[in-house]
């Protein structure tokens, strides 16, 4: 495990490092502790035949904003941002997927909470970030318990605010995702009431600008980049501690939280094909949010996918990897 | 009442006073403008203060009005004072009549202001904003504001400077009336020697930071400008001020 020595950081202003050399530049949108960190830690940036210019975003939606604006060619996001981007008619294309466990997608309650099952949520207040994967997971969990969103008091709060509300006892439960789940658990502030296993698709995506894919050379670079990401993903699975260390340093997360999160979610991801299952499970999210009027139109998610980079990848129903309990 | 702790060793019964200033010094940037000044004004006395421009008359008035405390020395003044400043200093955001009654105790009604303004010939402008007044009108409004206050000490800083001859006579008469009716002490700063002699019991000339000259005016009232004693007093004061009473302009 090591970080790349070939990285030629431009540093300073402009917000981005550049790796590799060559005439072609791939603009990659990234988040802190995201693709760049993984690739570098896995040593996958050493022999690039093209340049990668990294741009950092705080979350999925602004990253997709930049993809739509053609400011970046490619970037990694979770399973709900593409739904909203598609709903808003953004110019984006899902080009790759990976499948991980959904144990990190959880409804957490305070340790001493009287709630035992998802059905107990009836009439309780639940914090959730609107439009997040947890939002969908909450709906799915409630549905499975025979409830609907109307049966609980939904409190729309961003994670940082929700944490405050949760620890301050202002809400009864919090629908959240990793690494926040791990953080809550590790701090001993809560326990999982129910998680998204079997309810949500556990997917995350690489989303590209259609314009970039039309350029053959760029498309080739994208293919190469995706290949490197897959290798890096394997490296993560094999070196959870090393990765957790890098990730913790990059984001400011406590190391233990990072490691928990890697084992619970991040390390379990397997690269999978963008196939029918991807489209149908995503379409379910589209339809759910369309019913809530959060997505203005019932778009066909298929129009926002591209299967050309699937190669010989396994189907998206492939079981995630798991770590042995230690 | 006086907070000074030095009790006199030998008790004395000084004459009653409306103003008592002793060893007053006021320095601006190290330059003493008033320098160990001593001044007493009897209750009910009308004192006129003459002096070169910039000699410190307004500074003295501000001290007596209690507005300037960066001083050394002893200053005793009555509690009820009224000031007409050299510049009118009307509150621009209050109509003229409101300026006149500003600060009067109780809920003074508009009639009080109207009456005072009518006396200075400004009855028709009582509803105006101060900035629409002419120079003389503003000065008269400021004078009216001081006169309605019925003070024990009236401090007037060139209150008639911007008035034409006729208006000035009316204004002078007003001050004289208030003074006689109320029996207040008056300290009038003026550049008009004739005016000083006409109105005052005593004329002071300020110079070099002190009262450099004092002239009692023991003419009977009403006084007549044509009276030779009047002319003599006037001439002697002018001389004291450095002006030859017969000055002809070398033009």
């Amino acid at each position: 495990s090591g970080s790349s020595s070939a990285s030629s950081s431009t540093g300073g202003l402009g917000g981005g490092n550049t790796d590799g050399k060559g005439s072609l530049t791939l603009n990659v949108g990234d988040q802190r502790g995201g693709s760049e960190a993984v690739l570098r830690a896995a040593g996958e940036l050493d022999d690039l035949t093209y340049k990668i210019k990294w741009s950092t975003f705080t979350s999925g939606p602004p990253l997709l904003e930049a993809v739509n604006a053609k400011a970046v060619d490619l970037g990694a996001v979770g399973n709900t941002p593409p739904v909203f981007a598609a709903g808003a008619g953004s110019k984006i294309t899902v080009v790759a997927a990976s499948h991980g466990t959904a144990h990190g997608e959880a409804v957490v309650v305070p340790k001493d909470s009287g709630l035992k099952r998802a059905a107990d949520l009836k009439g309780k207040s639940v914090a959730v970030a609107q439009g997040s994967s947890a939002h969908y997971q909450l709906i799915a969990s409630l549905k499975k318990a025979g409830l609907s969103l109307a049966d609980v008091h939904v409190k729309y709060l961003q994670p940082a605010d929700a944490l405050a509300a949760f620890t301050g006892g202002k809400v009864d439960a919090w629908a959240v995702w990793d690494p926040y789940t791990s953080q809550v658990l590790r701090a001993g502030k809560g326990r999982i009431l129910t998680d998204g296993d079997g309810l949500v698709n556990g997917l995350s995506f690489q989303v590209a600008a259609p314009g970039a894919l039309q350029d053959e050379k760029k498309a080739a670079a994208v293919a190469d980049y995706l290949k490197r990401l897959r290798k890096a993903q394997n490296w993560v699975f094999e070196h959870p501690e090393a990765w957790a260390k890098v990730w913790a340093k990059d984001t400011g997360l406590p190391y233990e939280v990072a490691l928990d999160s890697v084992k619970r979610t991040h390390g379990t991801r397997v690269p999978v094909a963008v196939d029918r299952n991807v489209i149908t499970t995503e379409q379910a999210i589209v339809d759910t949010f369309a019913d809530l009027k959060l997505v203005p139109r019932r778009v066909d998610f298929r129009d926002f996918t591209d299967t050309r980079f699937n190669g010989s990848l396994p189907p998206s129903t492939t079981e995630p990897r798991t770590y042995k309990e230690s | 009442m006086a907070t000074d702790v030095h009790r006199p060793v030998t008790p004395a019964v000084p004459a009653p006073a409306a103003v008592r200033v002793e060893g007053l010094t006021r320095t601006f940037d190290g330059r003493p403008v008033i320098d160990g000044l001593r001044l007493d004004v009897r209750p009910g006395e009308f004192v006129a203060l003459l002096g070169r421009s910039g000699c410190g008359k307004s500074t003295l008035l501000r001290v007596l009005a209690g507005l300037d405390r960066d001083i050394e020395g002893t200053v005793l003044v009555p509690r009820r004072k009224a000031v007409a400043f050299q510049a009118p200093r009307l509150m621009p955001w209050k109509r003229v009549w409101r300026n006149v009654v500003l600060g009067l105790p109780g809920r003074p009604d508009r009639a009080v202001a109207e009456r005072a303004l009518a006396e200075v010939g400004l009855g028709h402008r009582s509803q105006a904003w101060p900035k629409t007044l002419s120079g003389g009108e503003a000065q008269r409004a400021s004078l009216a504001r001081a006169l309605v206050r019925e003070p024990d000490l009236l401090l007037l800083d060139e209150p008639f400077g911007a008035l034409d001859a006729l208006t000035r006579v009316t204004a002078q008469r007003l001050v004289a009336e208030l003074w006689q009716r109320r029996g207040c002490a008056v300290l009038l700063v003026t550049h008009d020697v004739e005016e000083a002699v006409l109105l005052a019991d005593r004329v002071l000339v300020m110079d070099e930071g002190v009262i450099a000259h004092e002239q009692l005016v023991d003419l009977d009232r009403p006084r007549d400008i044509a009276d030779p004693r009047f002319a003599a007093l006037r001439a002697s004061l002018l001389e004291r001020l450095g002006v030859d009473a017969h000055t002809a302009l070398a033009a």
């Binding site: 909203f84 605010d161 | 501000r62 000031v83 509150m91 209050k94 500003l102 600060g103 900035k131 206050r149």
Partner: protein
């Protein structure tokens, strides 16, 4: 050289003895005379409100023009027509109107509290040296603290109901008012304060009749700013457990990448800005009529 005695005689001879020629016949040594043109001859009489709409209307026209000619692609900024349609939809399904209603209520309360707090603190630190020592530095410190970082604290202190939302608006409103009222108080002419003192005004009378009116022009600028900030603060306030409001609408649109809705919100905000300006202008006309100041050429 003639003088008209009062009352001035009618001047039938005016055409026979035009003064306008005189300057031309004057000798070289004599000064050139210039005629002063009465302003009534120059002024065009377009009503003020009409003239003030020029800017916004021009902006709108430019936008429409660029959109129509394709210089502004819909990707970059949808055309006014599209935006109007989206706005229409939002109004029709009630989400915009209800959002405005909810937000207006929050803004009103926050504005009220913020005005009281801002002005109160400004009075304390404007009027008293000791107040300044205690308050001013603290306010100067707090005013630069970003809302985003405060939200978690506010949630813990005030819960997730209406209180933290109103607290955020209050906070946002207080600072511009504080700064401007404070500067206004400290800018009051010392001569007028002296005059007020010499008139025997009590301390409170001095504040009421001299210092506050003197600080009013500054306060108006602060109010103008505050009226804007109150609505801007909604964007943060309505991130806390809100499901309605213009700020919520905006943030939601951003998370859902609804550029069209964002633009509608922006336009609503722009309109609110105009409204705030109108309100303050009206107040100024009422409260500052005593002030004959420079009004532009």
């Amino acid at each position: 050289m003639s003088i008209s005695h009062a009352p001035p005689p009618p001047t039938p001879d005016i055409s026979g003895k035009s003064p306008h020629e005189s300057a031309e016949s004057a000798s070289g040594a004599l000064p050139d005379l210039v005629a002063l043109v009465p302003s009534s001859a120059r002024r065009t009489r377009v009503p003020r409100w009409l003239r003030r709409t020029t800017g916004p209307v021009l902006l709108l026209a430019l936008w429409q023009l660029l959109s129509a000619t394709g210089a502004l692609s819909p990707d970059v900024l949808a055309s006014p027509g599209t935006i109007a349609r989206v706005a229409g939809d939002l109004v029709e399904d009630g989400s915009l109107t209800s959002a405005m209603g909810v937000s207006l209520q929050r803004v009103a309360i926050g504005l009220l509290l913020g005005t009281a707090v801002g002005t109160g603190l400004a009075l304390v630190s404007g009027l008293f040296r000791i107040g300044e020592d205690l308050v001013d530095a603290s306010v100067q410190m707090l005013r630069t603290v970003p809302f985003v970082g405060l939200i978690p604290l506010f949630i813990i202190w005030f819960g997730i109901g209406e209180t933290p939302k109103i607290a955020i608006i209050t906070l946002g409103v207080s600072f511009p008012l504080y700064l401007n009222v404070y500067a206004g108080i400290r800018g009051v002419d010392a001569q007028l304060i002296e005059a007020g003192e010499s008139l025997g005004l009590s301390r409170w009378g001095l504040v009421r009749h001299v210092i506050l009116p003197g600080a009013l022009p500054g306060a108006m600028t602060g109010l103008r700013y505050s009226l804007g900030i109150a609505w801007l603060a909604l964007v943060f306030a309505e991130q806390i457990n809100a499901d309605a409001g213009i700020g919520f609408l905006m943030v939601q649109a951003r998370d859902f990448l609804r550029t069209d809705v964002i633009v509608v919100c922006l336009i609503v905000y722009a309109f609110l800005g105009l409204l705030a300006d109108f309100v303050v202008r009206t107040l100024e006309r009422l409260l500052l009529q005593w002030r004959p100041t420079f009004t532009g050429r």
